[in-house]
Point group: C2
Chain length 203, copies 2
């Protein structure tokens, strides 16, 4: 088993933080250099035709792409601590919050970066105006997230879950295009401080 990884990109960090929270430290990582577009080379496209990182390679040769699919595999393999919910209702609530954080925070931060940064210039068709739409949406969602966190400790309720991991990496990645927690967003700042202080955040 190994994981194709790239230190510096948000989705691979999502899986590394998840594994750190699980206490899983024996999976080797192999770096795929996104800076030189190694993930777009034919050898890698055989592993993941979408070109995305991370990818989990199982011992039987199966490749699991998509961060959340990889996390789900490890949640099944080593259920405790539960990061994706404990029963039918809780699992659905965690999935709802994780998806909100994916689409509204991480997705918008990524949309902002992909469409405006020099990193993607010439690699993908960039639409700067759409990057601005994404950035504005992310800024607005952080305002809303601050109100959500007024009466709960973590994103999906009273327990740390994968939704916190997605929000953390989404917010941290937002810095690349100046999407930041504002000074008046005290609840969001308190939450960010708490999740960033966990050892897993360094993964």
């Amino acid at each position: 088993m190994k994981i194709y990884d790239f230190v510096g990109a948000p989705n691979p960090r999502r899986v590394r933080v998840f594994l750190a929270e699980k206490g899983i430290s024996n999976v080797p990582f192999e770096q795929v250099n996104l800076a030189t577009a190694d993930n777009r080379k034919p050898e890698f496209l055989k592993i993941n035709p979408m070109g995305g990182i991370p990818v989990l390679e199982l011992d039987d040769g199966t490749h699991i792409a998509e961060s959340v699919a990889i996390c789900r595999y490890f949640e099944d393999l080593k259920p405790e601590p539960r990061l994706m919910g404990v029963d039918a209702k809780d699992k659905a609530v965690v999935e709802m919050w994780n998806r909100r954080m994916e689409f509204e925070v991480l997705g918008m931060a990524a949309g902002s970066f992909r469409n405006t940064s020099d990193f993607f210039k010439g690699r993908i068709p960039q639409v700067k105006e759409y990057g601005e739409v994404c950035k504005n949406a992310a800024v607005k969602r952080l305002e809303w997230l601050d109100t959500v966190l007024a009466d709960r400790e973590f994103i999906a309720g009273s327990r740390y879950t994968i939704a916190d991991i997605t929000a953390l990496i989404g917010i941290d990645f937002g810095r690349t295009t100046q999407i930041r927690i504002q000074e008046n967003q005290k609840n969001l700042a308190r939450w960010h401080q708490a999740v960033s202080s966990r050892p897993s955040a360094k993964a």
Copy 2:
């Protein structure tokens, strides 16, 4: 228990097809009119601050938004037939394929529609050029999906899963902006014919 629904939108259809495949027919639906933006009214934003449809309301008042979160709830409640995988590896594979279909097919069809259709004019900041990027991406992904289906019956392998449901509603929704299966895409056409013939496709 009830589901806030809107006949005509892709995500609510995703949940209806899922329930039909599960043989669950006793959940009442309440229509929320997206055409008159009832999903953006304050009463509905209390139910789902994102304004999205569908939303599952449980008897204890909990609201589960996000189609896949709703599907997961019913997968736990009534496991058979399994639509989200049978063991750790299979669950991860199904999730990977479902996400690919979400981001690459449904997401691109939705991005094309949202950014170019009159339906969203004045509701969201539309960027026509980004709509074209989405459309081109979707067209390219259907070419790829045709090759994937050359040696397997369904999207995630030999069994019908939620990934087929997401692909079906994504492809059908693509018609709104002329994203269509091409005549030379025989595998994709064969698969589309098969999944469209199931009684659930009418849900």
